[in-house]
Symmetry: C2
C-alpha cells in the first residue's frame, strides 16, 4: 500500500472541546439548574472546569477504560462530565433514571462502574439499590456544598459520597488531555430492550467525532455559531443525540433544561436564551404545543425543531410549520446508530409541490446522512429495490453504527450490516419510511397491517391526542389490530366516529374492530409507547372496548 503522507491526528472528544473553547469560547451554555436558578457559563469556562474535573477523576482513582456512570439531567455539569470522562480516556456511561430499579442495578453492575455522578433528584433511586451495587466506590453529588444532602439519604451504600463543586474547587485546572487511540471507547449507553437484559452500545472517540461532523452537515442538523440549541432529549438518551458534541464543535450556544421538561419551563428557558433550535421526541412536542395552545405563549426565536425517537405524526409537522412558522425536521436513528441515521428535508426539486406531497415526503424518516448506508433486506436477506414499495428490514452500515454489544459475545451484524429491527421502504429519491417495528407489524388474514400507519391516521382526528395499535391473537384472522386512544383535551372520543373516520382512509380489513379509550398510554424509559405493556394488559383482559 502507498500510504498518504498526512498527519496522524486522532479524532478525539477532547479535540472538540478545545476547538470550541479556543474558537467559540464566549458562546453560552445556560442551564435551568437542579437547585433551581438558571445559570450560565461560556464554552471556555466549561473547558476549564472539564480540565479540573479530569484532575478530580484522577484523584478518585479512575484509570483509562474505566466506566464512570452519570445519572443526571441536561446540565452544564453533565456536559463537563461528557468531556472530562471521555477526554481523560475513561468511558462516560450515561444511566437512564427512568429504568426499573432492578434493571438500573443490573446495568451499573454489568458496566462495573466504580464512580457515579448523580443529580440530587435521583438519591432515592440509588438508595433503593445501594446494597446491590458491587463495584461502586465513589458517589459524587452534582451540587455545591450548600445543597449537599445527608449521606444517609443514599441508603446502605458501600461508597464514599462527595460534593461535585467541592471536588472541583480543590483541583487545578491545568490538565493535558492524553493522546488516545481514536478507536478507544469513550461512552456507553444501554438500550432498554423490551426482552432480555439491556445491552450496552460502546461508542469510540472516532465514532463520536465523525457523528458530530455528520450531524453538522448542511443536509442534516447544521448548528451555526449564531444558533442556540435546546436538547429536550435527555443526555441519558443516546448522549442527547450527540448535540453536546455538535454544539461545541460549531460554537452553537446550548440551553439545558435540567429537570424542567414541561411546556411552561421549556417555553420560559427558550425565551430566556433565544433558543433557535430544539430537539426531542414527539411526546415532548405534544406537551409543548398543548401548552402554547392553552396559554397563547410563543417562542419567536425558535426556527427549527428536530423530531426523533419515534415517528412524527403529520399533524405535528404541519402544526409546527403552519401554525407557528417553525420548521419541523423529522429524523430517525437508534442507540446503535449514535443515533443519527436519516433526516427528512425537502429536496430542492420538490420546492414547489403541493402541501399533500410535501408533508407525505417530510413524514418519511428521510434520507441518510453522509456516513450512513441503507439497505432493505427481504425475507431471504437479499437486497430489495428502492422503489418506495418493496418492504423489508432496514439494514445500516457506517462509521458510527454499532458492531457489537459491551461484554456480549457474538456479533449482531449480518454480512457486515446492522439489522435495525425496523421494517421500511425506500423511495427512488432515497427517502426511507419506517412501516413498523419488525415485532409490531400485524399479520391479519395473510396481509400485513402497519401499526404506525393506523396510529398516524388516528392521530390526525381531532378527538385523538395519542394513539397506539397492537396486534392481538384472533382465531379467524391470526391477528387483528386493536387501537388504544387517549382522547384530546378539548373533546371526548367516540369509537364509532373514529372507526368511521379510519374506514374512509384504510382498507376494510385494516380498520381496528376494537378501540380502547384510555387516560394515558404506558411509556417506556425513553418516552416511547410501551406496546409490550399494552399487549400484557390486553391479555389480562383489563379493558372494556368500544
Amino acid at each position: 500500500m502507498l500510504t498518504g503522507q498526512m498527519m496522524d491526528w486522532p479524532l478525539l472528544v477532547s479535540a472538540i472541546l478545545e476547538h470550541g473553547a479556543g474558537t467559540f469560547g464566549d458562546r453560552p451554555i445556560t442551564t435551568r439548574s437542579v437547585e433551581g436558578p438558571v445559570v450560565s457559563q461560556t464554552i471556555a469556562r466549561t473547558a476549564v472546569r472539564a480540565r479540573r474535573l479530569a484532575n478530580v477523576l484522577r484523584v478518585l482513582g479512575v484509570e483509562r477504560a474505566d466506566r464512570v456512570a452519570t445519572l443526571a439531567w441536561n446540565t452544564h455539569r453533565h456536559v463537563e462530565l461528557y468531556y472530562a470522562i471521555s477526554g481523560a480516556g475513561a468511558v462516560c456511561h450515561t444511566m437512564n433514571p427512568r429504568l426499573h430499579p432492578s434493571q438500573f442495578a443490573y446495568i451499573l453492575n454489568h458496566a462495573e462502574d466504580g464512580v457515579l455522578f448523580t443529580d440530587l433528584t435521583f438519591l432515592k433511586l440509588i438508595a433503593a439499590v445501594a446494597p446491590q451495587l458491587e463495584h461502586l466506590r465513589h458517589v459524587v453529588v452534582l451540587t455545591d456544598p450548600a445543597h449537599m444532602p445527608d449521606p444517609s439519604e443514599l441508603g446502605e451504600l458501600r461508597a464514599q459520597v462527595h460534593c461535585y463543586e467541592a471536588l472541583l474547587a480543590a483541583e487545578s485546572d491545568r490538565y493535558v488531555w492524553p493522546d488516545l487511540d481514536e478507536r478507544a471507547a469513550c461512552a456507553l449507553c444501554y438500550t432498554s430492550g423490551t426482552t432480555g437484559h439491556p445491552k450496552g452500545v460502546l461508542y469510540s472517540h472516532r465514532s463520536t467525532v465523525l457523528h458530530a461532523m455528520g450531524f453538522s452537515l448542511p443536509g442534516a442538523v447544521p448548528l451555526a455559531e449564531s444558533d442556540v440549541i435546546l436538547p429536550v432529549v435527555p443526555q441519558f438518551h443516546v448522549l442527547a443525540w450527540g448535540i453536546p458534541y455538535a454544539a461545541v464543535m460549531n460554537g452553537a450556544g446550548m440551553a439545558l433544561p435540567g429537570p424542567g421538561l414541561d411546556g411552561a419551563s421549556l417555553t420560559a428557558l427558550m425565551n430566556q436564551t433565544g433558543t433557535s433550535v430544539a430537539a426531542g421526541v414527539p411526546t415532548v412536542w405534544h406537551g409543548l404545543m398543548a401548552h402554547w395552545q392553552q396559554t397563547g405563549e410563543r417562542v419567536p426565536s425558535l426556527e427549527r425543531i428536530v423530531i426523533g425517537g419515534s415517528a412524527a405524526p403529520r399533524a405535528m409537522l404541519q402544526g409546527f410549520e403552519e401554525t407557528y412558522g417553525i420548521r419541523a425536521i423529522h429524523a430517525w436513528g437508534m442507540t446503535e446508530t449514535s443515533p443519527l441515521g436519516t433526516v427528512s428535508t425537502l429536496k430542492p426539486s420538490l420546492a414547489g409541490v403541493d402541501a399533500e406531497t410535501r408533508y407525505a415526503k417530510l413524514q418519511k424518516q428521510g434520507r441518510p446522512v453522509f456516513g450512513v448506508e441503507l439497505r432493505l433486506a427481504g425475507g431471504d436477506g437479499a437486497a430489495l429495490p428502492h422503489d418506495g414499495k418493496a418492504v423489508g428490514e432496514l439494514m445500516v452500515r457506517g462509521p458510527w453504527i454499532a458492531a457489537g454489544y459491551f461484554k456480549q459475545p457474538g456479533s449482531p451484524l449480518q454480512d457486515g450490516w446492522f439489522p435495525t429491527g425496523d421494517v421500511a421502504h425506500i423511495d427512488p429519491d432515497r427517502y426511507m419510511a419506517i412501516v413498523d417495528r419488525t415485532k409490531d407489524l400485524i399479520k391479519s388474514g395473510g396481509e400485513w397491517i402497519s401499526s404506525i400507519d393506523v396510529e398516524n391516521l388516528a392521530m390526525a382526528h381531532p378527538q385523538v391526542a395519542m394513539a397506539a395499535v397492537i396486534g392481538v391473537p384472533d382465531d379467524k384472522w391470526g391477528e387483528r389490530p386493536v387501537l388504544y386512544v387517549v382522547p384530546s383535551v378539548e373533546r371526548d372520543a367516540d369509537p364509532d366516529t373514529l372507526r368511521a373516520f379510519l374506514a374512509e382512509n384504510l382498507a376494510r380489513w385494516q380498520v381496528p374492530d376494537r378501540i380502547v379509550l384510555v387516560d394515558a398510554l404506558p411509556l417506556g424509559a425513553t418516552g416511547k409507547v410501551k406496546k409490550s405493556a399494552l399487549r400484557e394488559q390486553w391479555a389480562a383482559g383489563h379493558h372494556a372496548t368500544g
Copy 2:
C-alpha cells in the same frame, strides 16, 4: 485499551460519490466544455461514468497505488477522473498546465505517471516535453471521437493515444469500488515552490473525506443541496480546494467553467446555472468586478464568494458586500493543508459593530476550521500568546495537514507541527492574520515592514489596480521596500500622490521610497504575484522609478 464496538467503515472517496449519487442523484454538474458547448449531467450520471472509467483504468493497466496524471480544466470529466482514479485505489495526480515545461516534465517523471488524461488545450505542452517523459504509456485525450486531434500533435510521444469518450463507451458501468485502507494515498499535488524542485503532497482517502466534512461545517463553507457552486479555482490547484468532494457529499450542484475564466464567460455561466457560491483567488475577482463595472452585468443568484490563495484586499471584501450584496468569505490554506485552514466569518458577538471594525476583522485570514490547530512559534520555537500582537511563524496540525512530501526523505514537521512559512498573529477571538510570508518580510533599519500591509493600503487607492512590495538591498538601512503598481483602468497613477497617500497611514520609515509603475505583475503558476521575478527584475535594473 478498551476498543469501542463500532463498525470499521473506512473513510473513502468512493463513499462520497456513492452517497451523492444515491441521495442527491438528480443534482446537476454543468460544464462549459473545452469543445465549446455548455453540457450538463447529474451526479447519478457522473457516478455511472466514473464506474465505467474505473473499468477503463483497469484496461489501461492501472494498478493500486499507481499515479495517474490529469492535465485538465474544471469539467465534469475531470470530476469523473477524481472519483474513478481514487476510488479504484490509484492516485489522482493533478498537473498544473501553467508550469514551465521543464518543471512539468520533472513532475511527471518524479511521480512516475504511467497514464495521462489531458484536455485538448494542452497538447502542445505535452509535445514540448514528450521525449523526456520516462514512464508514460498512455495519453487519453478528454474529448469525443469527433474532436480527436491527430496523434502527431502530441510530438514524439512514446505512449499510446486514446479518446476518452471512446474508451468509456467500450466499458461496462458495473464496477464495485474496492474496500481500501482509509490511509491509502488518493491524490497528489505538487507545490510550485519558488526555490528548488516542486514537492508532492500526497493526500489520503481519510484526509480527503475529513477535509470535505470539515469544509462543510456551518462555520466553514457549508454547501447545501440548494446551492450551486462554481469553483473558479482550478482543479489543478489543491484539488479545487476540495470543492468537487464537498459538493457531491452535500448534493450541491456544480458549475464548471472549463477554460472560460474571463469575467464575461464566468458571468454567463453563473447566470445560466443559478450559481449561488463561487470560489477563487483575488486576481479572478478583480477581473470579474472590472467586467461587472464595465458592462453593468450582474449575477442575482450569487450569494457568497470564497476568496483564498492570497490575501483579499479590504476594498474587495467591502466592494462585494456593499456594491453587489454578495458575502465575501476570506479563507486561508495551502497545498499542504488540503487546503482549508481558516475562514473569516464574523462572530455573533460582533454582529453590531461599525464597518471599520467589521472589515478589519473580516480581512484577517480568520478562525480555524474544526480539525485544524494553530500555533505561533517565536524565534526560539516557543509558543507565542494569542494577543493579536505577538508575531511568529504560523504552525498547523490536523488530520488533513501534510506530514511529508512524496519520495522525499525527512520530515518538514517541527515537534509534530507543520511550519507554514507564513508570519502571523492571532487575536484573543482566535482570528489569525497573516503579516507576510517569512521570506517576504522586509527588515529596514532593524524594524520589520510587512509587504502585505503596504500592498493592501496601496490597493485601497483608486489609482491602483494591483500592487506588490518587495524588499531590496540598501546600504544604509539593510533593506528598503519598493512598491510595484499596476494603475487602475480609469486613471493614471502618480507616484507622488500615492506616496503622500501611504504616508498618511504608515510610519515614515515604512513608506516605500521608490514606486514602479508597470503594465502587469508577473504571476506564478497558481495566479499569485511572483515576487522572486520582481526581485530579479529589480536586480537587473530594468525599471525607471518614481
